[in-house]
């Protein structure tokens, strides 16, 4: 899976929680939660979606590393199960 694929999958997960988001609308280098209305329950659902769809368990301690879409791709790149 290349970075583009990862980003598409992450956006698809976000859209199951916030269906009003349009893909072209999200800026990859801006904090996601400034662009999408996600409360703490929604955020947990994104983490659960990544666990379910991509098989990656993200510990709570790493939440702070996941601010932008670029952060998400960089984080998931080395962790995806082969």
């Amino acid at each position: 899976m290349n970075d583009n694929d990862i980003r598409t999958r992450v956006i698809a997960i976000i859209r199951t929680i916030a269906p009003e988001v349009e893909e072209g609308e999200l800026l990859a280098d801006r904090p996601l939660r400034d662009q999408v209305d996600l409360d703490s329950m929604d955020w947990l659902n994104v983490i659960l979606g990544v666990h379910r769809d991509l098989g990656v368990d993200i510990p709570e301690a790493d939440y702070g590393k996941l601010r932008t879409l670029e952060d998400w791709t960089a984080y998931l790149r080395g962790r995806l199960p082969t």
């Binding site: 269906p19 988001v21 209305d37 703490s40 329950m41 709570e60």
Partner: protein, 391 residues
């Protein structure tokens, strides 16, 4: 014969439209069973029956809008034999139906399976729709899950010729009206007083982080759940904050049923309850909260979740502001608010430290309680949150 009535669904919902009968004549009804589904301004509500019996006659047809308290159906009590046809007058139900509803007439029927409240509108589409004076909620969405996109709005604008048309409100108007009615009544009738307390959250968050590190991702607990449980336990110190103001007097709640304010994606909010919060463990509460939020946002709730809450908690979360002073949801007599968790300077054990703090506030009804009692509650809440392992 048992009257099955449309129960109270909270102060901001005074009528409902019958969407579906789940039990048909001749079928048995058990305690807590969902008997009918009724659409309100905020959600499709599954109306439960709390008596046992057999469905005898449905008095309200699908599609009809009736006020709260209307007899929806007649049930035979266990052992009761059905009377001969026509021996029981239907007059009470008919009389009630004739009562003019307090709220303005509703929009024409929408298909039962998709209440309009579920419609999602993309923010850009909403902005553009506002500029064009179009109600985006009324459009057919072509985006994911039927969301209305910018393209849908532009297409509608082409067909619409909006010249001179008055701008339509962007939000489903009856949600706003329902909130306006309930909050207006609250501020007219309830003499609110407000208190606030800064609560150090270091111990609670460290304990929770250690717990969550041991749990699989599917069983993680949010800090808001600790706060809910702490509120429920602290209420033991101030029972006059938990209950209702009814007919000029305070009626204590029959349990600690906490209404949780949940914001809806299309705007507005709803505060359905979790029952017996003081008696459930954190894992159970987290599960129930997750389900409640997802059902509230999908527009599907149970009547007991709307009529039973004895107090409300609003939590602005990590995207919110520092403190919230809420408006009490009548006939309740108190509301507890939590602001954003934020790391700030704080003196602990005589030393200045940077630790996470939260501002908890209490809005309470001065007809029922005084500031001294309210303050005792907030102190108890603060202490509960210093001993997270006991929650």
């Amino acid at each position: 014969m048992i009257d099955f009535k449309l129960p109270s669904l909270g102060a901001d919902m005074d009528e409902g439209k019958l969407l579906e009968w789940k039990v048909h004549p001749g079928e048995p009804v058990t305690r807590g069973q969902v008997v009918a589904i009724v659409d309100t301004a905020k959600a499709a509500v599954e109306v439960e029956c709390w008596q046992e019996g057999t469905m005898h006659e449905q008095l309200v047809p699908v599609g009809e809008t009736v006020p709260v308290g209307t007899v929806l159906a007649l049930l035979l009590a266990p052992g009761e034999v059905a009377p001969a046809p026509g021996t029981r007058e239907k007059a009470p139900a008919i009389a009630k139906k004739a009562t003019p509803a307090a709220a303005p007439a509703r929009a024409p029927a929408t298909p039962a399976a998709t209440p309009a409240a579920r419609k999602a509108v993309s923010p850009v589409a909403r902005r553009r729709a506002k500029e064009l004076g179009i109600d985006p909620e009324a459009l057919d969405g072509t985006g994911p899950q039927g969301a209305v996109t910018l393209e849908d709005v532009e297409r509608a604008a082409g067909a619409h010729a909006p010249a001179g048309a008055p701008p339509a409100p962007a939000q489903r108007p009856d949600i706003r009206q329902a909130i306006a009615a309930a909050m207006g009544r609250s501020k007219r009738e309830i003499p609110h007083y407000y208190l606030a307390e800064t609560i150090p959250m270091r111990r609670a968050l460290e304990w929770l982080a250690a717990q969550n590190a041991k749990r699989p991702v599917t069983e993680r607990i949010l800090p808001g759940v600790l706060q809910l449980k702490a509120v429920a336990l602290a209420l033991a110190k101030a029972p006059e904050l938990n209950g209702f103001w009814q007919d000029g007097a305070f009626v204590p709640g029959g349990g600690v049923h906490i209404g949780v304010a949940i914001s809806l994606r299309q705007g507005g909010l709803i505060a359905p309850g979790i029952h017996d919060v003081d008696r459930k463990d954190l894992a159970t509460l987290m599960n129930e909260l997750t389900m409640l939020v997802s059902r509230a946002r999908a527009g599907s709730l149970r009547s007991s979740e709307l009529s039973d809450p004895t107090i409300t908690v609003t939590n602005l979360g990590d995207q919110g502001s520092e403190a919230v002073y809420g408006v009490i949801y009548p006939p309740q007599v108190a509301l507890v608010g939590f602001g954003r968790l934020a790391t700030r300077p704080w003196v602990e054990d005589g030393e200045l430290r940077a630790i996470p703090l939260v501002t908890a506030s209490l809005s309470a009804d001065h007809r029922v309680s005084d500031g001294m009692r309210g303050a005792r509650f907030l102190v108890a809440l603060r202490e509960r949150l210093q001993h997270p392992e006991e929650l």
